[in-house]
Amino acid sequence: MSHEIQTDRFEDNYRRALANPQLQKALSNATSKFTIARKVSVSNVGEEWEELRDRARAIKEQAIANLDRYLGEFSGNVERLGGHVFWARDGGEANDYITRLARDRGVKLAVKSKSMMTEEIELNHALAAVGVEAVETDLGEYIIQLAGERPSHIIAPAIHKTREEVSELFAEKLQVEPLHEIERMTQLARRVLRERFAAADMGVTGANFAVAETGTIVLVENEGNIRLTNSLPRVHVALMGIEKVIPRFADLATFLRLLPRSATGQQMSSYVSFLTGVKRSPAEEGPEELHVVILDNGRVDMLANPHLRESLYCIRCGACLNICPVYQKIGGHAYGWIYPGPIGSVLTPQLVGRERAADLPFASSLCGACRQVCPIKINIPDMLLHLRHEIKEEAPAAHTGAGHAEGFAGAGKYQTVTQRASKLAEHAAIKFWAFAMRSAQRYRVGASLARIAQQAFGNKLGPGPISRWTSTRELPPLAPRSFRDLWPELSGASHTSGDGNSGSKPGAKRGGALGRQN
């Protein structure tokens, strides 16, 4: 299944998501469950959690700063223990290698476990083109594959689907009577996929960690499909981005405490596989061949940019998705490609091209929650800001606006005349706001006028540059007297100056035309 990149249609995508009540319910359910589970699990670790994050970050810094050395060491160990290593600059090279391998070994069917990298390079599509069927075996991914869709969450790919939809999908695609219990649907998937596991000659996995000093690939999961994929077929292909390598085996003591807790709130995932090299005798279990594909696919460019290098520290736990107020409302599909949420808004423009995903770095309130939950303390807000800067530098004419009062669509390269006009209006409004706020006198007068205006026109504004905002929202009524006016009475004689920071006057700040700033 080829996944079209839709990152340039962000506004359409998120509007569709916001208008879908079922999706809104699913998102709210999923993100709150994950967030609570993570919080409980982290609090059980106690104060040590921060030490773990600092240590993980230090290890990633060391690994990435010496990436050439550690990758060389890793690949040397894989080869010494009987594995093959293929270095691919991009998805095309990786897909060519894997499809050629599949044909050479007479592979008709490949079973796959969840791997963001294979999604990134569209491996399934490439395999299908040479007549090799690739079956996703993670339950969520299998559902998505049957439906011809794309994952909406890094950890729970099918959270946007209801049980009724899955039931209908299975009935249609697997020719069975509709099943109503999730339990029975899961058992059906087990039976169907077991047949595929038994018949497959190639197993394709990703890699969560690659240990330089031992040549070990580490895979973390709950279902057991990764274990089946890496131990049943004759040929095991593991794909990894260059950033997956960690220096030492001992570093796993840190990462394996952080990853499950951050991802699902588990102390430990059901299964962790540590795979090193290949067997030497047919009497041993496991595949006869191991092929590790190490991919650049845009990552060397991330490495070269000191502002964005931290993108490579990500361990794909999904915690930043669940905590993000934007992701919580728009879900994964709105981001238009495989990496959603805050980290997706950092990765996607770098991987598909800034011009194709120019809206994504603007799809954030920069609240910083992502950075707070990130197990590696990745500074996502700073990178989003940097990308905004780069995008505006690259296409200055298209980005005259100073903010995003109309949602997130402001940064798009292809703006309509209305959008451009409202950008100008917005720019003017902000200038006016700055002018009003610079003087206590002007601020006081402005707030009084706003109070009068609201009494006269009500709490909706008619047509105009901000009508798209106000048509769906009511402005909060302004208090008859401002806090500023009340303060001298409330505080007695001790504070009479009345001149304070304009920013600390929320009541007045919400008034009239200034309301768009909130």
Binding site: N29, A250, S270
Partner: protein, 252 residues
């Protein structure tokens, strides 16, 4: 065609000179507070409690009779749901530990599957097919982690089939598929091999298995039965791996 030298050179160029690399040298260390030498009983009860929390079953056993009774109980409970004669896989490590178990299985009229390396001739495809049809797999574990309820199965390279150089509990059991493919996994764990936490486990296996240039072919952590929550985030057991996990803890 990708090329190692070329890609590593590109990475070096992207990193700039050595001076701009930064990143220093993180020492892995062991960030976890080492528990005071806990008593075996405490480790056993913590392990059992944690594993039960994630849906595993545990029992402390004293002798071979208890192990057979427990396994017999599970088979009895499943008897109605399995048509035909159930086959039971008993790994070579579990056989060395409990030599009477295989004979007992056969005496009950059940089919027995042995480890791949014990079969004559060696037929990996036939072995996989047999396991797909089996009702239960019995294996040993090499180590365990108390505070997460985790079993650790080590598959040493070139382990000897007669167990001469690989005792059960030292990476010598052939348990990779027996612990995965059948719908029920029964695992025998030596109470002396339970370590307090992940840090202690990683330190131990690093020194014991991963420092001599010949690391094990595979090591597997198992923490509870196979689970998924991919449909409406509803927790469901046994999606791909075993639906049931039973750990019998014995005092070795």
């Amino acid at each position: 065609m990708g090329d190692k030298t070329e890609m590593l050179a590109a990475i070096r160029a992207a990193l700039g000179g050595a001076s701009s690399r930064g990143g220093g040298h993180a020492e892995p260390g062991v960030s976890e507070t080492p528990s005071p030498a806990a008593h075996r009983e405490e480790l056993v009860s913590q392990f059992c409690a944690e594993l039960q929390k994630v849906g595993g079953h545990t029992l402390q056993v004293q002798d071979a009779g208890q192990i057979r009774d427990y396994i017999g109980g599970i088979l009895g409970a499943h008897a109605s749901s399995v048509p035909g004669t159930p086959s039971i896989a008993i790994s070579d490590g579990a056989h060395r530990l409990q030599p009477g178990l295989r004979a007992w299985i056969k005496d009950r009229g059940l089919d027995l599957i042995t480890s791949l390396r014990e079969s004559e001739p060696i037929d990996p495809d036939g072995y996989k097919r047999a396991l797909f049809e089996s009702a239960m797999g019995v294996s040993t574990a090499d180590l365990a982690i108390a505070d997460t309820g985790t079993l650790v199965l080590v598959s040493e390279r070139n382990a000897q089939p007669d167990g001469s150089s690989n005792d059960a509990g030292n990476g010598g059991d052939q348990h990779r598929l027996i612990s995965l493919v059948p719908p029920t996994h029964v695992c025998l764990l030596d109470a002396n091999r339970i370590l307090p936490n992940l840090a202690a486990l990683i330190t131990h296996v690093n020194a014991r298995y991963y420092s001599d240039g010949e690391p094990p072919l595979a090591m597997t952590f198992i923490t509870g039965p196979s689970r998924t929550a991919d449909i409406e985030l509803t927790l469901t057991m046994g999606v791909h791996g075993p639906r049931e996990l039973h750990v019998l803890v014995y005092a070795g």
